[in-house]
């Protein structure tokens, strides 16, 4: 008797659960993102809240993916269970655009008279465009700039940040010193890392590129080699430090803990400096000029899956988040820079003492994106490690690297 009652209760409750799920799913937009830090999650929550207040007829469910983001999204796309709106990083966008899994947004953009896609800086929109079709809308951007410690500069008798390669080296030499007199260097000019992302701006500054106009990676060029020799040279001459040598995880930490006077980083570092490293008196500047001004920019899109029962609803959310209103809410916190010209003008970031360097970089910043299997990145990373840790021969490594990467080009 008791057993039977229990059974019915169980059955009824599970039925209720199922129906409530179905009902809930019917008109709720599922939204997924990663989280670089807890404050980003809070901001996302409040942005979605703004959307729901503006359009009370819609419901949004925020499904945070805290780790292995791209793996999870790809798995969800492959198993037909992707959220309706999610982030895609520019760096991995080509591997998504290769497949027919994302919704082209052009027809929605054209229909929506208030959206105004020409308001976007074109290079960010291009990062998610393939064969003339737009598969994602850039929500914001960041780029590499130079952060420098003003106190250290003053103590060394320097007033301005380095403007070119020669000054970067000269200043780094002056700033590298033993401050407590124990015979060991405890302050370095700049902190760098054996990673290709930080090297690429130098390649562009050296009038080079790492890709030809067809998108093939060209690493074995005089410009690339020149940039690598300069970059590695800073470390070899003992005026730059790498994080592992001072037992730290990343370059930002080395700068924040005052072991280096300069660091190359992006806008994402600003909140950390304000929360964690309050005593660091930092300033922002453009990356030093080589033969020309250059840096790389990073952008993230909001995209939708092709297989999506809520296309209209998803567009509503997408267009709000990347529209003038949503983007203003998002970027007014300074977490990242707006990809819309009008929003940048409205927030007056062009004249902001810090943000102006990010906004000003847009003129010469390039997107870091290749049409290769992700393995190319591991190969270059290994090569950089071999150069830094094993003092491998640079020309030989470049040749080998280019050779190893060749077969990884994605055929379309």
């Amino acid at each position: 008797m008791v057993k039977n009652t229990l059974k019915y209760i169980l059955l009824a409750s599970s039925l209720a659960l199922i129906t409530s799920c179905v009902k809930d799913k019917a008109n709720t937009i599922r939204f997924s993102s990663w989280q670089s830090n807890p404050s980003e999650k809070r901001l996302t929550d409040s942005l979605l809240h703004c959307f729901v207040i503006r359009y009370p007829e819609y419901k949004v469910k925020f499904e945070l993916i805290p780790g292995n983001y791209s793996e999870k999204i790809q798995l969800m796309l492959g198993t037909h269970s992707a959220p309706q709106v999610f982030y895609i990083k520019d760096f991995v966008a080509p591997s998504y655009l290769r497949y027919d899994v994302l919704q082209p947004l052009d027809e929605y953009i054209d229909k929506d008279t208030t959206f105004d896609k020409d308001d976007f800086y074109p290079q960010f929109l291009n990062a998610f465009t393939k064969n003339g079709k737009i598969y994602g809308l850039p929500k914001d951007f960041g780029c590499f700039v130079l952060f420098y410690n003003e106190d250290m500069f003053k103590a060394t008798g320097l007033s301005d940040p380095p403007k070119d390669w020669a000054e970067l080296e000269e200043f780094s030499r002056k700033l590298t010193k033993d401050t407590n007199g124990d015979g060991k260097i405890d302050q370095y000019g700049i902190v760098i890392e054996p990673s290709i992302d930080k090297l690429i701006p130098f390649v562009f500054q050296n009038m080079g590129s790492f890709q030809d106009k067809d998108g093939n990676l060209t690493l074995n060029t005089p410009e690339f080699q020149g940039a690598l020799e300069y970059y590695y040279g800073l470390y070899k001459k003992n005026i730059a430090i790498i994080p592992s040598e001072v037992s730290m995880n990343n370059t930002e930490e080395v700068f924040g803990r005052k072991r280096a006077a300069m660091v190359i980083s992006g806008g994402w570092f600003v909140p950390q400096l304000k929360d964690q490293y309050k005593d660091v008196n930092y300033k922002v500047a453009y990356l030093p000029k080589g033969k020309q001004m250059a840096t790389i920019a990073f952008t993230v899109s909001y995209s939708s899956p092709k297989e999506n029962p809520l296309k209209e609803e998803s567009w509503k959310l997408l267009s709000y988040l990347t529209g003038k209103e949503g983007m203003k809410v998002w970027t007014s916190t300074g977490i990242a820079m707006p990809t819309r010209k009008s929003v940048a003008a409205q927030l007056d970031y062009i004249n902001h003492p810090e943000y102006k360097f990010f906004m000003g970089s847009v003129d010469f910043a390039k997107i870091f994106q290749v049409d290769y299997n992700e393995r190319w990145y591991s190969i270059t990373q290994s090569a950089m490690q071999a150069i830094f840790y094993e003092k491998a021969d640079i020309p030989q490594k470049l040749k080998q690297m280019e050779n190893d990467i060749k077969s990884l080009r994605i055929k379309n």
């Binding site: 292995n68 793996e71 790809q74 798995l75 796309l77 492959g78 591997s95 998504y96 290769r98 497949y99 027919d100 899994v101 592992s244 040598e245 001072v246 037992s247 299997n373 992700e374 393995r375 591991s378 990373q381 290994s382 090569a383 490690q385 071999a386 840790y389 094993e390």
Partner: protein, 303 residues
């Protein structure tokens, strides 16, 4: 005297109990078997199948690739590096770990003061999450970490253990020896407690020293346990993953890329699931071969 009818009835009874027993056996087996089928047998079969495909998660249709994945694996330089690293790792870890485990068990089996404290202390690494121990060891191995500061007292120059390609693999090996010795010590302890005291008593009467007792009684008597420990640690070493994932990401310059890390990298970092599956099948083949060889030439009980 038992009449024919009675015998029949008895037989029937017996038969039915046997049937009933079987019924219940399968009933109880059903659930674990179902779990194993869903989470083990089907995935193994599935990964075997996809190893013949150019399997891409997001592609609408999967391309059949025949043996291409296998051919490519054997042409990949990194694969050989991963193989070499795995073999070096296994050769370094298994003997030391086994001997250390046996030695610890032997000591812990003596009547010494604070025995349970030491047993617990040695076993703690085995029950601690490998991610936690890995993170602790990253700190210990770092340039300004504990190991360098200890070595510095002896006048040895600081080394960045995990970013130096020469020491990265050895560092991970040392960590693994430390964590698993305690685990296998427990297996050996169980084996030691099964050795009859009379053997030691007889040996003592004959005037055997501790060392002689260890080599001539303990070691041969725990041979089945040793066999088990070696098999388990061989398999564990061939599959080493978490420490590599947490501590070095296979770097620097692939110095710590092991077979299972290679599988992971290709499957989930480069999104070539078919290729990753093929590498996993190769790894499984290697482990199986080694185990068979071991079973043939080093049987658990040769007597």
């Amino acid at each position: 005297m038992v009449s024919g009818d009675e015998l029949n009835i008895k037989m029937k009874k017996n038969n039915s109990t046997k049937k009933e027993q079987q019924f219940w056996a399968y009933t109880f087996l059903f659930f674990p078997l179902m779990l194993l089928t869903i989470f083990l047998f089907i995935p193994i079969l599935f990964s075997f199948i996809i190893s013949f495909f150019d399997w891409e998660l997001m592609a609408a249709h999967q391309k059949f690739a025949g043996l291409n994945n296998y051919v490519e694996i054997f042409r990949d330089k990194i694969f050989y590096k991963a193989m070499l690293n795995t073999v070096l790792y296994t050769i370094g870890v298994v003997p030391i770990q086994t001997m250390l485990a046996l030695f610890l068990a032997f000591v812990m089996n003596q009547k010494i003061r604070g025995r349970s404290f030491f047993r617990t202390a040695f076993y703690i690494p085995a029950v601690t999450s490998s991610v936690v121990t890995s993170i602790i060891f990253v700190a210990i191995y770092s340039k300004e970490g504990l190991l360098n500061s200890l070595l510095g007292n002896l006048g040895i120059q600081a080394n960045d253990w995990l970013t130096n390609p020469k020491t990265a693999l050895i560092s991970i090996m040392m960590l693994n020896i430390w964590t698993t010795s305690g685990y296998f010590m427990v297996s050996f302890l169980a084996g030691l407690q099964n050795i009859p005291d009379s053997l030691y008593e007889a040996a003592k009467l004959e005037g055997a020293t501790q060392r002689q007792q260890f080599w001539h009684i303990t070691v041969p008597m725990v041979r089945p346990v040793t066999y088990f420990v070696v098999v388990m640690s061989l398999i564990g070493c061939f599959q080493v993953f978490d420490q590599v994932f947490v501590m070095s990401d296979g770097g620097p310059n692939n110095a710590t890329t092991t077979m299972s890390y290679y599988v992971y990298q290709n499957g989930f970092r480069y999104f070539r699931l078919g290729y990753g599956a093929a590498a996993a099948i190769v790894l499984a083949g290697i482990i199986m071969t080694v185990t068979v060889i071991q079973k043939k030439y080093f049987p658990p009980n040769p007597y």
